[in-house]
């Protein structure tokens, strides 16, 4: 079972990972985006960890709802509402249970990913965060390690795609050959699950 501490560790591990990879995310966002993905997410997740420490929400759902709220408030770019919606909808789907099973979490995360697809209008293959998140949710039923591998593979697989959503879509064919920064940061988020579980 996964408790509020697990979800706090997930957010803390994501923040640390985003911190380590800030420059790489911004470098990926430089040729096809507006070169702020790393710094935007770093600002957002720094706010997430600070707020979780101060307010100490007691249930998995409350942790994710609060984290999502912080991202919407502080990121400043499109990743704010997108990641914010992902975490808030996932948290809402978990309800106010003190502990949730891995299967319940998988179902809730699928709800969150669906909400992101609806908000941004992106489908798999559009060269977005969805290309890492959809395979991750599909593999999550197996293990956190499998989800991590699937998300990383999904992020790498965005390189030959032409962007159809967001700032990169203005580049048309010139977006081909670059790994998507949003799919890359989504892979960091999923990889942090394994770390939170201590696996």
């Amino acid at each position: 079972m996964l408790d509020a501490d697990f979800f706090r560790r997930w957010m803390t591990a994501t923040a640390a990972s985003v911190d380590r990879e800030t420059e790489r995310l911004t470098a990926l966002d430089s040729p096809i985006g507006d070169a702020d993905h790393g710094s935007n997410l770093q600002r957002g997740f720094t706010a997430v960890t600070a707020t979780l420490e101060k307010e100490a929400p007691g249930t998995p759902g409350a942790v994710l709802m609060l984290a999502g709220r912080q991202l919407i408030s502080t990121v400043g770019g499109a990743s704010g509402p997108l990641y914010g919606t992902l975490l808030r909808r996932t948290g809402k789907a978990l309800g106010d249970a003190a502990e949730v099973s891995e299967d319940q979490f998988t179902d809730a995360l699928r709800t969150g990913v669906d909400a992101v697809m609806q908000l941004g209008g992106a489908a798999p293959g559009d060269k977005t965060m969805i290309d890492a998140l959809v395979p991750a949710v599909a593999a999550l039923g197996e293990s956190f390690a499998a989800a991590r591998a699937a998300a990383e593979e999904g992020a790498l697989a965005t390189t030959p795609l032409q962007a159809r959503k967001g700032r990169a879509s203005y580049l048309g064919e010139r977006s081909i050959g670059h790994q998507d920064p949003g799919a890359t940061s989504s892979a960091l988020l999923i990889a942090a699950l394994e770390e939170a579980a201590g696996e």
């Binding site: 702020d36 935007n40 919606t85 908000l119 700032r167």
Partner: protein
């Protein structure tokens, strides 16, 4: 006329300068008499480019006169942030609507229409209709 409840307009851009200038342009073109309340919500706190949920919420609250609020955006995170705030339910005044319209032309149409005392649906229709004005 002074106590008339007019639809409020919020202009969300990635740039504070763009939002403020378009607001000034729209109010200027709306002419004399009573003008609907217009608030720019451009850039992020601190002046950089981007979208601030806090600035949007504050702008919407500041123009709310009880007749609804029409929000116009430029692109990307501006659109997504407003949609997200609307989905949250309690972040924006009741009867706030994201209007699908070109930013500059839509803002002028929205402010002129709102200033005439039109309701939210009419303001939305006028702003959206700006998409159909071809230039060549």
């Amino acid at each position: 006329m002074s106590d008339e409840k007019l639809v409020g307009i919020v202009l969300v851009s990635h740039s504070a300068a763009v939002a403020a200038s378009v607001a000034e342009l729209a109010v200027g073109l709306a002419g004399g008499g009573t003008t609907a309340a217009v608030a720019p919500a451009g850039g992020v706190e601190g002046g950089g480019l981007g979208t601030s949920a806090e600035l949007i919420s504050a702008a919407a609250a500041s123009v709310d006169r009880g007749a609804g609020v029409a929000v116009l955006t430029d692109l990307g995170s501006a659109v997504l942030t407003v949609k997200t705030l609307l989905a949250e339910g309690d972040e924006l005044p009741a009867h706030t609507r994201l209007v699908d319209a070109p930013f500059v032309e839509g803002a002028v149409a929205a402010v002129v229409t709102a200033s005439s005392g039109a309701d939210l649906a009419a303001v939305e229709a006028a702003a959206s209709e700006a998409y159909t004005y071809r230039k060549v």
